[in-house]
């Protein structure tokens, strides 16, 4: 019923094969890249299907918006080449099952902030920045009713996304929301990139969290005191689905007087937190991920970062402890913005 809008001709005509040629985790030349992507498009086995770490980045690298990543994971599922071991996939799929009853639906009739599956992070949306903005998915016991499901791209289980997502969208829509500010990049990516790519209708307008924060900070501009911290940003995989909004990271830093450090693994060249890679079936995944994380954090450290800023709670969980050990403080973007307007987020000293 939902089919991926992928155009083989676009790949045939493509002269760069950026999707694979730029991949940080698969060493492949342009020529082979073309061959492999076409093999994938034809439903044939390809080394890429075995080696893909599911970092989402090729969605950004493809300048034709031809959805190479969605294609890869669809074919991984079709050809039964799961990137993760079976028990992790089962575990992950069960994680998103809503249980403990139905959520309470409050009619919003306007704009709302959607916490998705992060209802237990309400402490990150406190203070003036969020005044007057109603929130949906506030009950951790019911939060999987709002879980965008896109995580299952990492599991090569597009079928699960397609099966469950309509019900999630319906639940959100029942709140009668017009604009939905998505707390997590992943939800935003779901509703602005994945849904259109498979022809699933989204009856509300998603707003990127950082765009919201930026605009709100503009309104509160008078209250901003420069935070004067040297910051690095940990770009999450799902940010690759909305590269047009990535600019708000820098825009916010500029607005609140945070100094972005010069580093190698930044923007398009950003490194994955390794949250999903660590457990993958591909030989050496654990060790490779440990090396990747060290490389990422050393890069921040060498660049002089005092703070590593996050959008994604999963990245935060994966890297937080290592960062602290390296003397870099992990902070969510919203908390950093709160500091800039003189508020004291939970645990901030």
């Amino acid at each position: 019923m939902y089919a991926l809008k992928y155009d083989e001709d676009t790949c045939l005509k493509c002269r760069t094969q950026d999707c694979l040629a730029k991949c940080q985790y698969i060493d492949i030349d342009k020529e082979s890249a073309k061959k492999e992507i076409l093999k994938i498009a034809h439903g044939e086995d390809s080394s890429v299907l075995h080696d893909c770490v599911t970092c989402y980045a090729c969605e950004e690298y493809c300048s034709f918006n031809n959805h190479p990543f969605y294609l890869i994971v669809e074919k991984q599922e079709e050809l039964d080449i799961p990137p993760l071991p079976r028990p992790i996939i089962k575990r992950g799929i069960k994680t998103g099952i809503p249980f403990r009853g139905e959520p309470t639906i409050e009619k919003i009739n306007g704009r709302a902030l959607l916490m998705g599956a992060f209802a237990d992070l309400m402490h990150l949306i406190q203070g003036k920045l969020f005044e007057g903005l109603p929130v949906i998915s506030t009950d951790p016991r019911k939060m999987f009713h709002y879980f965008c499901q896109l995580m299952y791209l990492h599991y090569a289980r597009n079928s699960v996304i397609k099966e469950r997502l309509p019900k999630i969208i319906k639940t959100i829509a029942e709140h009668e929301v017009t604009e939905v500010v998505c707390f997590h990049d992943e939800c935003y990516g779901t509703y602005t990139s994945y849904c259109p790519a498979i022809g699933m209708e989204v009856p509300f307008t998603p707003v990127h969290f950082f765009e919201y924060l930026y605009n709100r900070l503009l309104e509160l501009k008078k209250e901003i005191k420069p935070v004067k911290l040297k910051v690095a940003y940990q770009r999450p995989c799902s940010s690759r689905l909305s590269p047009d909004k990535h600019r708000f990271v820098q825009a916010i830093f500029d607005l609140i007087g945070a100094q972005t450090v010069e580093r190698e693994y930044v923007d398009e060249n950003a490194l994955c937190c390794g949250g999903t890679m660590e457990g993958q079936r591909r030989e050496g995944s654990r060790k490779r991920t440990a090396d990747l994380r060290r490389k990422n954090i050393e890069d921040m450290k060498n660049a002089g970062a005092e703070v590593c800023v996050f959008n994604c709670p999963a990245c935060y969980n994966t890297l937080g402890q290592m960062l602290v050990q390296s003397g870099i403080r992990p902070v969510f973007m919203s908390d950093l913005c709160r500091v800039a307007i003189g508020e004291k987020p939970e645990g901030w000293r």
Partner: protein, 452 residues
Amino acid sequence: MDSVYEALVEIVGPEHVSSQPEELFIYSWDLGTTEPHRPDYAVAPRTAEEIRKIVQLANKEKIPVVPLGGGLSLAGLAVPFKGGILLDLKRMDDIIEVNERARYALVECGVSQGKLTAYLERHHPHLTHSEPGAPPAATIAGNVVIHGQGDLAHPYGFNSDMINGLEVVTPTGEICQFGSCAIGAGWFTLHPLPDVGLFLGWTGTTGIITKVSLRLFPCKKIRGMAQFVVDDEDLVPEVFYKITHTQMVEDIMATSQAIPPFSSELHHFTINIAADSEKELEFKLEIVFDDTLGEYIHKGDGGYLGFIRGLERPQLSKTSDWRKGGGFEYVGSIMPIEQYPECYRRGKEISERHDIPYTVLARCIGTAHAMMFSWTYAFNRADPKTIEHAREALHETDDLALELGGTIWKPGLYGQRLVMEKLNPNTLELMRKIKQLLDPNGIMNPGNWEAQ
């Protein structure tokens, strides 16, 4: 005036003895499904000498004495089935000595797990003890007396294997010491004196332990927990076996439970790993997860879920509130690891029959010499029907544990009867003789281990 009450007041002082209905009510209850029985007196002694006097009084008056530690066995082991004097031992809570070089702690019987953990962290950060999965209010002595196991069970065995010395008040009121301490030496070994180990596993029916010397072990700078998951219960024994072969880890547990959904029908291993340096840690992770379990990962049969630094010690247990009912009880068994798949499958069936979401756990004891396998049944304290269901499920599980070739760990009265029915008759007879010899008036924790 009640002469026993007055005599108790004489021994422990008026504030530490009660025959008021409130104390008798509270001390009548176990936290599991066991029916309550009221004691006649609740007493909180401070010294072994006071206990000695209480026991002598009880012998004179022929009234039962029931010792209570943290009260967290959940199997009804300190319920005063025949009334008498309930001894709440938690006032005896001094950590008397920690010997850094001989690696032991000498503690009074009321010292809680939490207190020893906190004390070692603060004063002896490179030493640790094998902490059981019970709430921190559980006592050291209560745990060794029931043959408990803790988070060092894989390298070092049962907590009752970690005893370097004991002080015990016998049922006739003598204070005895066992181990090197008995000849006036330090509390550093239980061996090689003639073996008179008559107090462990007897659940307080042969005496009251008043002091324990417990072995401590090296505590490495980095301690953390890795997780590994499989979806086939038949793989669990070999995973246990392979991990234990590496001798690289501190604790290995496998769990499976119906709620939350992600844990249902999957088997999650938690594997504690400790290291003094990043180099040591990476070496151990590599040996365990790349070299040993890598084949499962690559084939797609097992998944590595990462390593988290820091152990939650003592553990916070929220088990009692899983169904907002305030209650749970479990059957623990000591079982060959090979039986994991059958324990899991049959346990799940019992749970389903009684409409209780299933919860099972296996902890490796020794180098896969055995496991403690537990089946947990939650109930709603406000709903007698669910308590009855849990009780039935527990009894069926006691039967199952023996059927599968295991022994029941810290059995309640029902389980004790089952064990005694199967027990070698000569052994049972010897137990009876020992009990008769030690406790001629049968005052100690009566009801427990009473051969028919």
